[in-house]
Assembly symmetry: C2
Homo-oligomer: 421 residues x 2
């Protein structure tokens, strides 16, 4: 994967809360992806505390391996933030009031936040006099760019929304202008139903014939395995043609287990299929408690094809809203093929849709019965003409059982749609 023409970056994330495990670092993955898109290779990610010595050491160390260093965090208004004074020390500057930033903060408090501004907010306009200020239109702390020994050091606020805005509008354009000469391209497909090691076995010969600038990665997650080809090169057209050819071959090798030949979520895939066909969907969820509906509606524009859901967490809700007869519930139980079949058919009719999903199961830790262990899930997908049911036995904790149920329900629905059910 190493390549002499590559440009390397590293990320330094600053904040005691990261070392306490109180927050999950989602910023790094976002930044990595953005850099990747413009052909920058991320070499390393480091998370450190709000500590002068640690920050200075990280700057000195990372600079040895990268010509782009992106720092996030440590710029909030409260006392545990010490990043700016350390940056002054490292880059031989001092803090001065940056008038455009102060005007921006004053305006934000007066007209948007509608709260009085206090000293701490004003201090956010104090900026080292040795950096280029990157205006932050969506928050109070601006981004900063320092340059030293041909290395670009960016410092960004840790609030994900603000960091993202600055990356997209300031950092990426600046890097693209100064640093990129290598192209990176990815092609991803998603498989289902076969384990990572089995696929790897199928692809031994394919991997061996890959040119040295193209690499295959296996990304298993929740029973799906993503296969990603990554190519590097200095000539965009050659790279595109070469990776296109390899991807074509890869697809033909795994065609029997391939769900889709792009890197999208299952909920986006379902949305795409329904939109193309101008069809609609409803769901009836018991054990997943709204998670399937949440995934579907996380897609912008889902109101075009999604009518809604009945989350029937209790017997009463199943009877009253979904018209599942009491004697069915009593005879077979809420977690049964009979119950989910009725849930699917009835919600399809209730909301007058082309397709319906229904799930009912025992997610744990409580709720097991003699013949139904934790992780038992019945699901049904229905169209006007067809009903498919399936039982699963997941063996994980509540959270993962809910996620696996949702993913498998979407996979089952895809089968029904593609089958023209």
């Amino acid at each position: 994967m190493s390549n002499s023409t590559q440009t390397f970056a590293t990320i330094i994330t600053i904040g005691d809360e990261l070392l306490m495990g109180q927050v999950i670092d989602t910023n790094s993955a976002y930044i990595a992806k953005q850099l990747n898109n413009i052909g920058i290779t991320l070499k390393r990610r480091v998370a450190i505390g709000d500590d002068e010595q640690e920050i200075l050491k990280a700057l000195e160390t990372e600079k040895l391996d990268a010509s782009i260093i992106i720092m996030t965090g440590g710029l909030g208004p409260t006392a545990d933030d010490i990043t700016k004074p350390v940056l002054c020390k490292y880059f031989n500057g001092s803090l001065i009031t940056h008038q455009p930033t102060l005007d921006h903060i004053t305006n934000l408090f007066a007209n948007v936040l509608k709260r009085p501004m206090i000293d701490r907010n004003i201090k956010q306009a104090d900026i080292p006099n040795v950096c280029t200020v990157l205006e932050n239109k969506v928050g109070t702390a601006p981004g900063m760019l320092f340059e030293k020994d041909d290395v670009m050091f960016f410092s960004l606020p840790g609030v994900p929304y603000e960091m993202k805005w600055l990356m997209e509008n300031k950092v990426i354009p600046l890097i693209a202008e100064k640093k990129t000469n290598t192209f990176i391209e990815h092609r991803t497909l998603i498989t289902n139903g076969v384990g990572e090691s089995f696929i790897a076995e199928m692809l031994v010969d394919f991997e061996q014939q890959l040119p040295s600038n193209i690499k295959l990665a296996y990304l298993p997650n929740y029973g799906l395995v993503r296969l990603r080809l990554t190519g590097y090169g200095n000539h965009q057209e050659n790279l595109t043609s070469s990776i296109h050819q390899q991807f074509h071959q890869l697809k033909s090798l795994v065609k029997d287990i391939m769900l889709v030949d792009e890197d999208i979520t299952l909920e986006a895939l379902i949305g795409k299929l329904l939109k193309e066909r101008k069809q609609t969907l409803a769901t009836a969820e018991s054990c997943t408690g709204g998670y399937i509906s949440h995934l579907i509606t996380s897609i912008a524009g889902s109101s075009e094809y999604y009518e809604g859901s009945v989350i029937s967490y209790s017997y009463a809700a199943k009877e009253k809203v979904l018209s599942v007869e009491k004697n069915i519930l009593e005879k077979y139980g809420a977690v049964s093929e009979q119950t989910v079949s009725l849930m699917a058919k009835n919600v399809l009719e209730l909301l007058n849709t082309d397709y319906a999903i229904a799930v009912s199961g025992i997610m744990g830790p409580g709720g097991r019965t003699a013949d139904k262990p934790i992780g038992t899930v019945w699901m049904a997908v229905a169209s006007k003409h067809k009903l498919i049911t399936k039982i699963f036995r997941f063996r994980f904790d509540r959270k993962k059982n809910i996620e696996l149920t949702a993913i498998n329900a979407l996979i089952l629905l895809r089968e029904l749609i593609v089958d023209k059910g």
Copy 2:
């Protein structure tokens, strides 16, 4: 925060996918929290690629600052994993078949996964002959413990479920036995309605009088600010008493803005309140598409107080399932005080609960109208005797608007419950 009696750890996360931004690293936060609980201070977290030189360098560097090093990732069955050979090199060992691991994998494939086992799976039982094998009961790759120069090096699989099992059952007990002498205690409370800088201003004197072994941190997130006191000490009882006293004082200083004096999620808080009162809840969601219901049902035991939800994404669903009259929808629109009031009252009656939440809004990027910009949300919470409505105008992207709507709906419900509405 530095303290000569502290024991330091660092985390090394291995995998190209982390540097591509294809996965979010949730393992590190979990490991950090577990270490913290037994008094180990995390010094740094590093993420690197599947690259021999990078792994060797990280081991050598991190060893200088920590006596516990936890590696995750790089142990999967496919070709891009090179961790074990590198560990052999670094610790002067060689790979040998570990019979108990091989027996475990064989049994797992035969009786649980019910798939044939192939060479790659068998290779997972190849273990460096210079480590202590940590049996992994929930997966194929075992954990490993290497010891060198009084430093404990743990290597764990990257699959979160397996990593967690090994941390809890193997790693933490081993560390607790050999390394702990410092105690750490946390106390957290959650505030709402006032910004971080304002709270910091209120607490200037409090922060100044804190003893040097107790530290206050501000953790703002989605309009809530968590205030966390962290204390370090060698004497458990003194530490507990000192932090208890400071927390008591902190609580009295912020009592007007405090939601709860422990570190729990809002959905867990709502669950606790409803359980205590033996009361029940239903929801009617439009714009959040099931996310509120998902949060509520993510709590184990929520079936005791949660009846279910109607996700009425379309006009038709609002009319048909929630009995919101067509003329109300046409006159005021789906996003209106009138509509959410009816949604709340009707779902309360439909599912016969003590409380109900209803939300309707425009989450973006589409859907704005002349008088209702993106981010406009109406919400209502109802009991049998009372109805509270509130309008919000969020100014973020779809995902964050959905999350903020859910959090504020739970806050509004808490007010109604605590108010004995």
